[in-house]
């Protein structure tokens, strides 16, 4: 597992303890555990894994029950399990529209957000210019903004720009929320690419933009992918902005659409469960592709502050 910290210097040497008198009966090899410890470890981990997975499996199970109240008598589902909810959701609701909206908004934010974050990340990684530190600092602070302080004024700005209830508006808002983190992430990635490559490019007559565009961006593809995945997952699961700024039901994203099953069509829990499962599958598949890199990136930004 990659780590972003250099701990070797941070850890103080272990305190010297007075040597214990040799009298232990049995010597165990390093890293070897007694049988009880091993059983205990597996027991705890199995329990934890069960707790972690159960709610998701439960939701998938509920989704198989065809009636609204089936979640109250889960035993009955076994006898009448069917995929009726899934076909209902796919054929008779706006699910596919919402899915398309989510895809469009998340994809749009990926392209816009990652592009501008990359150019900023490159600039702060390679160039020294007046205003560098304030910029880095404000990128960090932006990440701790509570949405409540922004959501009202944002609503008005979008309204006055005629961007309320439009994909463009939501993409812009999402870009604003993911860019600070992505810029930090990509700066970290660009820092690992040797400066000599830039210099070679400059010597061969490329402009600063040329080096960025033709040399560094292709080399940074893994970093860009992680930033894009992070952006995609964030947008895919975002609720408050989407539910405030998207007003008409054919513009809803999945996160907003899901809530309508409970409020409007008097609690269709079964359909909601099926929808939730359909939403979760692509997102989790995506997640497992990149989770290692996500952690390294997430902590990197804050560690360097």
């Amino acid at each position: 597992m990659t780590s972003t910290t250099d701990l070797a210097t941070a850890a103080p040497a272990a305190r010297p303890e007075p040597a214990r008198t040799a009298g232990t009966t049995r010597v165990r090899r390093r890293g070897e555990r007694s049988r009880t410890a091993s059983v205990l470890t597996h027991g705890v981990l199995v329990l934890a894994a069960f707790v972690a997975v159960f709610p998701v499996l439960w939701l998938a199970y509920i989704a198989l029950g065809p009636d609204e109240t089936d979640y109250l008598k889960p035993g009955g589902i076994l006898h009448k399990a069917s995929f009726a909810n899934f076909s209902e959701v796919l054929n008779h609701t706006d699910f596919l529209t919402w899915f398309g909206n989510s895809l469009l908004v998340a994809g749009g934010t990926c392209v816009l957000g990652v592009m501008i974050a990359a150019s900023t990340g490159y600039a702060v990684s390679r160039m020294r210019f007046p205003g560098l530190r304030p910029l880095m600092w404000s990128l960090l602070v932006t990440q701790m903004f509570p949405i409540a302080v922004l959501i009202v004024p944002m609503y008005y700005i979008l309204a006055s720009l005629n961007l309320l209830d439009s994909y463009g508006g939501l993409i812009l808002v999402y870009a604003g929320t993911v860019v600070p983190y992505c810029a930090w992430l990509l700066k970290g990635y660009f820092d690992t690419i040797p400066v000599e490559i830039d210099e070679a490019g400059r010597v061969d007559g490329l402009s600063p933009f040329g080096t960025f565009w033709r040399l560094i961006l292709p080399l940074a593809r893994p970093g860009l992918a992680v930033a894009a995945f992070y952006t995609f997952l964030t947008c895919w699961a975002e609720v408050p902005f989407a539910s405030t700024f998207m007003l008409s039901s054919d513009k809803y994203t999945l996160a907003v659409g899901l809530t309508t099953f409970v409020s409007q069509h008097d609690s269709q829990w079964n359909l909601m469960a099926a929808t939730a499962v359909l939403i979760a599958i692509p997102a989790s598949a995506f997640f497992y592709l990149v989770q290692r890199h996500l952690v390294a990136g997430l902590t990197a930004g804050a560690a360097k502050s």
């Binding site: 941070a10 303890e17 555990r33 709610p55 939701l59 210019f129 902590t299």
Partner: protein, 315 residues
């Protein structure tokens, strides 16, 4: 003056490509963060709500008609009549919520990371399963919890079969708070676990060998090798955890909706004032936002200083 102009010109010609490259981000953040923040601060000094803010009805534009009230919003929130119910109760609950959630997620995450950081059969499988709460979008898992916690849902059925009391998780205030903390912990543990596991794996094993040679017990090794080795990772994840939990919107909003005043933390409460009621009280909502932001900034400042001071005294 001429010298300044010269310097500006020089700095422009020297740095213009840097400025061009950061310009898009600066513009987006300026429009979507800095300007709203400024406008938000301005709104907090007025009595704006959805009735007196300028809006367009058909073809007619109705101009703004709210008044400047100075700091009255803040004094009203902090000290006005009923300020305990409106602000301080939520404030106290927000602090409890943050402290409990962060302690639980970091504690559980560290425990699991320690278990996973040893030679173990099926380690990868355990890790894949344990990150499921993070992999599945929050709004999906929260709905699942809502089904399980509902009256007559799975959790109460299980409690009933064990002859334990069955609180109504989604209605009784204390049970609501417990449920909120548990669900948030469930969602937050995987991130802590993976980050701390990364930290654990970067501690050189020579340190443990040396400690063992010196006769350190397992607890002493944990206390004097593992914890100091985790310092930089753990200080980061604690800070991130505090910020995220403090601003946690989705879990409480989705688990309880807007009809549970007792369990609203400051963020969701501010959202409710601004969007969940009629007339929408923009000024108060924005004031809550500014108060929240100030609390976080002050906390972060103190936290960083505390870390620095500890760094100096630690070794």
């Amino acid at each position: 003056m001429a010298a300044l102009a010269q310097r500006l010109k020089l700095s422009y010609s020297k740095y213009w490509y840097a400025y061009v490259m950061v310009a898009p981000v600066v513009i987006v953040l300026g429009v979507l963060v800095a300007y709203p923040l400024g406008r938000g601060v301005y709104l907090t000094l007025t009595d704006a709500n959805s009735l007196n803010v300028g809006h367009t009805v058909g073809v007619n534009h109705i101009p703004d008609s709210f008044n400047f009230v100075g700091l009255r919003n803040y004094s009203d929130i902090l000290f006005g009549p009923g300020s305990y119910d409106r602000f301080w109760s939520h404030f106290v609950w927000t602090i409890e919520w943050t402290v409990l959630c962060v302690t639980l997620t970091v504690g559980t995450g560290l425990g699991l990371a320690l278990l996973l950081n040893q030679k173990l059969r099926g380690r990868t499988a355990y890790r894949m399963l344990l990150v499921v709460p993070w992999a599945v979008p929050t709004f999906v898992t929260v709905f699942s919890w809502r089904l399980m916690l509902a009256d007559g849902g799975l959790v109460n059925a299980a409690l009933g079969s064990l002859h334990l009391p069955q609180p109504s998780w989604l209605e009784d205030p204390l049970a609501q708070k417990t449920a909120a903390i548990l669900v948030n912990t469930w969602c937050g543990v995987p991130f802590m676990m993976l980050s701390l596991l990364g930290g654990l794996q970067s501690i050189p094993s020579e340190l443990y060998e040396a400690a063992e040679m010196d006769g350190a017990s397992a607890w002493q090794q944990f206390r004097h090798v593992t914890l100091p080795g985790l310092r930089s990772v753990s200080s980061t994840v604690v800070l991130l955890g505090v910020i995220w939990t403090f601003n946690q919107f989705a879990i409480i909003y989705l688990l309880f909706g807007m009809n549970a005043p007792d369990v609203q933390i400051l963020v969701t409460w501010a959202y409710q004032l601004g969007f969940g009621q009629q007339p929408r009280d923009y000024a108060q909502s924005a004031s809550y936002g500014i108060i929240l932001l100030s609390i976080l900034i002050v906390f972060t400042g103190f936290y960083q200083r505390w870390l620095k001071r500890n760094d100096q005294t630690a070794i």
